[in-house]
Symmetry: C2
Subunit: 238 residues, 2 copies
């Protein structure tokens, strides 16, 4: 559409300005985001994130993970080392007020970057706790942990999302959807048939969010869990 | 307990009889059972079992697995080959009217054998379909498919049981419990924290059976599923 009133041309060409943020990003308060695979050096911060999740869900009495148990089970030193996407896999969401200058070198996943424009800047009270080592003002904002599951009816694998968590000050900015979308995209890339997760039936906001993302909520199925002493009893059984 | 009326002793010692079934097994109709890891040669029969499961659940419209898709996803030829219990894993339940003479040689799982005494012999209308190749009167009666899942709160893996199926003529004999117990026992052996699966909320008999096995039914959680076109849409998403 033609402009209703064209401004007059500038009298002389302005000098080429230096590359500034405002020219390459939307107006407002841009935040640079990146999704990458977790590494063993993320474990201390992952442990803190999982504890925050337990607090949020009021389930700290069920929380017994340690940095050591997370490290040995998520990044085992067994040979062969489990490949990402074929075993327990974690995407880390990093944010930064400035563009990322490094590129994580991982043969299994090319990090995805996106600039998000916020109305207000984020005040992060825990920025030092979640600052990424060797990162130039890079902070961990959330994570998603997932692993393959299998559908015998489809005759193919899928992904099961065990945890999706975004730190409180970064919520309601589309970051949860970014993390879940990254899992869905990876599933499509691998030819997988499903992405599944669970939600509490009273969490209406979450259910609405998931349905808007295209998910179906299966109302008839219930989870059965054998754990603790009831599980241990099978250890010596014939 | 002493016999109420002892028969007179035989006039001469009877010759040592050949080893017969009745001397080494309970009275009645013994059936020899064995749980072993599945191999690629089980795929044709596994495909039939999964189809029978779809018929039983009236979900054949969701059944699209082929022998080829099962084979390439459950027994991939990728390097390194996924290890049993660290990826999709299948226990096969074999039955035989006579003791097993061979021993499947698998470094990851030592088959478990058990003799079960039945009131009546099993009439198996599909015995030729489910006869194990090279087996001496050995038939496949059921299977369980499971794989690792992960609890961040526990900081350790568990097993998720996707399918548990026993062919109709072998039901109500404790075989389902045997298969599920074998998974639970393996979980304990590996130091895993949970065994989980799902059940339809109207399947009262199954829920009762699982509760008797020590499982808790989680009433508040609902499964969310992203599949088909809704999933494919994420393939090209930014």
């Amino acid at each position: 559409m033609a402009a209703a009133a064209a401004p007059p041309p500038p009298p002389t060409p302005a000098p080429e300005p230096a590359l500034t943020l405002s020219q390459n990003t939307p107006l407002g308060h841009p935040i640079f985001t990146r999704i990458r695979l977790a590494t063993p050096s993320d474990v201390p911060q992952l442990h803190k994130l999982i504890h925050q999740m337990a607090v949020f869900e009021r389930l700290t009495h069920l929380f017994s993970a340690t940095e050591s148990s997370l490290s040995s089970t998520l990044f085992p030193s067994t040979t062969p080392t489990p490949q990402p996407f074929h075993s327990f896999t974690i995407f880390i969401l990093e944010v930064s007020p400035t563009p990322f200058t490094d590129t994580p070198n991982n043969p299994f996943y090319n990090p995805t970057e996106k600039v998000v424009n916020l109305d207000l800047p984020v005040e992060d009270p825990e920025r030092e706790t979640f600052r990424v080592q060797n990162g130039n003002d890079v902070f961990i904002a959330g994570f998603v942990l997932f692993f393959p599951n299998y559908s015998t009816f489809l005759g193919k694998p899928g992904f099961y999302v065990e945890d999706l968590f975004v730190r409180e000050c970064y919520r309601r900015k589309g970051f949860g959807k970014m993390l879940l979308s990254a899992v869905a995209k990876q599933a499509v890339k691998m030819g997988y048939g499903r992405v599944e997760w669970v939600v509490l039936d009273w969490n209406i906001n979450a259910i609405k969010f998931y349905e808007e993302m295209g998910a179906k909520i299966l109302q008839e199925w219930r989870i059965c869990r054998l754990t603790g002493e009831a599980l241990e009893a099978y250890g010596g059984a014939e």
